[in-house]
Symmetry: none
Subunit: 194 residues, 4 copies
Amino acid sequence: MSNHGAIQDKRIEILEAAALIFAGRGYAAARMDDIAEAAGVAKGTLYLYFQSKQELFVSLLESRSEEYVQTVTAWLADCKTVTECIHVLVTLRGQFFVKNQRLAESVSHSVPGFPKDLQIRVWNIRRGLEKPTIKLMQRILPENYPVEPALVAAVVNGAIDYSVGSYLLDDRRVNLEKVARDLEFVLGPGLQEK
Amino acid sequence: MSNHGAIQDKRIEILEAAALIFAGRGYAAARMDDIAEAAGVAKGTLYLYFQSKQELFVSLLESRSEEYVQTVTAWLADCKTVTECIHVLVTLRGQFFVKNQRLAESVSHSVPGFPKDLQIRVWNIRRGLEKPTIKLMQRILPENYPVEPALVAAVVNGAIDYSVGSYLLDDRRVNLEKVARDLEFVLGPGLQEK
Amino acid sequence: MSNHGAIQDKRIEILEAAALIFAGRGYAAARMDDIAEAAGVAKGTLYLYFQSKQELFVSLLESRSEEYVQTVTAWLADCKTVTECIHVLVTLRGQFFVKNQRLAESVSHSVPGFPKDLQIRVWNIRRGLEKPTIKLMQRILPENYPVEPALVAAVVNGAIDYSVGSYLLDDRRVNLEKVARDLEFVLGPGLQEK
Amino acid sequence: MSNHGAIQDKRIEILEAAALIFAGRGYAAARMDDIAEAAGVAKGTLYLYFQSKQELFVSLLESRSEEYVQTVTAWLADCKTVTECIHVLVTLRGQFFVKNQRLAESVSHSVPGFPKDLQIRVWNIRRGLEKPTIKLMQRILPENYPVEPALVAAVVNGAIDYSVGSYLLDDRRVNLEKVARDLEFVLGPGLQEK
DNA sequence: CATGAATGAGAGTTCATTCAT
DNA sequence: TATGAATGAACTCTCATTCAT
């Protein structure tokens, strides 16, 4: 029997610890020592599972976004009306944003200095986070809707993230139910079939 | 005659150089040596005008956002219809985003690890960037509009930034005219008086 | 088996190297690079054993003074007459002064600019170096001796250090035997029981 | 008429300011900016009067020790008995030590790294500070006194400095009268003619 | 697989000194 | 003489990475 499972377990433990540390202090201020301690392993062990601090960071982003994409894709498959869909999107993407706020921030701060291959992986992550929304727009918008689905998706995602962010900026607790209703009111009319 | 002007000039030269370097490599990867070289001054000179790298960074953010806020406030004062206003907002905020992409990403996020006083300055910058849009919404939305102006502003700003960002992410040239028309089409209906 | 011993060894090696460098150039002119090179370790290694240059310096003072205090305390316990005691004191304190001339000068003075906690440690070192002499004076001076033992100790220690220092100032080799005899002659009469 | 006097005045003002700063923070932590500000002149002006920070420091030591030497020489010329002489010495040298404690400390810390010519000047200062005491001992000790006057002087000076220092170490106010009486009691018997 | 002591390049910052005005 | 903005060498300290055990 292979110990593949055990290896995966430790990998995941490290990622969890890394999430904690990165979210707490941001990428630059996070030290590998701290991550190792939080994960309960020695510093050298980190390098058995990840090539570098940068690679660990990108891997974490990938793991979190994968999780999100899977969940949101599954939920969106079931929803019928535009209203319902916006509700699902706001709720799930909002949760993701709340949970990973600092990670998302760190991306823009730190990635510019990363090597090309990691930059591409980050690019794919960003793209991946947009995809479920784009697919949704392709499904619900009328054939002759004059705006590209990708741009509509950008509009909707931007609206969600900034709405949630406006709460977080003031350290107010986010009421996703209310945000969903508000966004339905603002965005709904522009997205409905005529 | 005082040399106040000359001092301001050099301060601005340094800020320009810093913008170049920070935008090119991100905050963490930017080295004070590089900024000094780009500004054509010695490293030590940077510290005559700014207390630290962090303070230089925040000062840069402040300078750029002030510029934006003044311009956009002036333009919005003159526009009448919702359509026109959205057009102005998209154009100016879009320009700002294109020009300061990397910096804007930094602004729209807190800067973990910075000392308290600088964090507050960043918080004020972020708040400041929202203000013109909020004021606009207070002006153009009907009395009984059921969503807070601040949240509508977040929606609109998010929509703009992400729309522009979706072009930049793919390294495509941004057509702000087109973005403006698209956003008017998507957001317009939800913002019109009933 | 623990590697406690090995760790202590390296700590001591670093202290020896630091003693060499500090004594050679004085605290301010001593560079951490030099100490590292003298100790045969990398610069970063110094910081595994000591928190800062200042802390390394104070630790060195502590280690040297501890050594001295233990030795002198043991020897003084056995001596009987005033003459004998002065002889022991001059010999041991003189040796200490010769060996640690530069350090001793530092010890006998506060270290302006150091953080509070390190200042306190230095203060304790200075106090510690006086203690054996004070205890001795308490033992050998008559009950009704009109001068405080602490001040008599200061007199004796000052006399010893300056006597030895007067040789070192001229780069003459110190003859501790002779210094002891001379000090017995000068100080003896004033310390004898009446 | 030459402006020699005015030049001397500014030189002295700078020395006074330097004394303040050096005494307050120690040599290494004292910055030329601070000295310039305290003296009420521009930084560059310091270099019109002194070649370097090191040279300024040594000049200050010289000026202070000259003052002391002149005063003590004058006073000692008049005193007759050993008791009286010790009293004068303790008072004047004690005052000097109290006033210049920090400067004296700084010497041992900083001078090791100074260039040769300044080291020699410091050496001369140290020697100069001993001279009045040595001359005194040559005068008052009997012809056949078996200890060199220079060493007796070292003993006496060490005793004075450490006695005063033992007060300062504890931040107690020094009572020079009492110290003088105590030292007369301890040192007197060994110095009297037989 | 796991460890953690050791490494050393590289960072931000300081400050004595200079020199054009 | 006097200035003070500018310099840049030199410093301490950090921390991602390695490798002998």
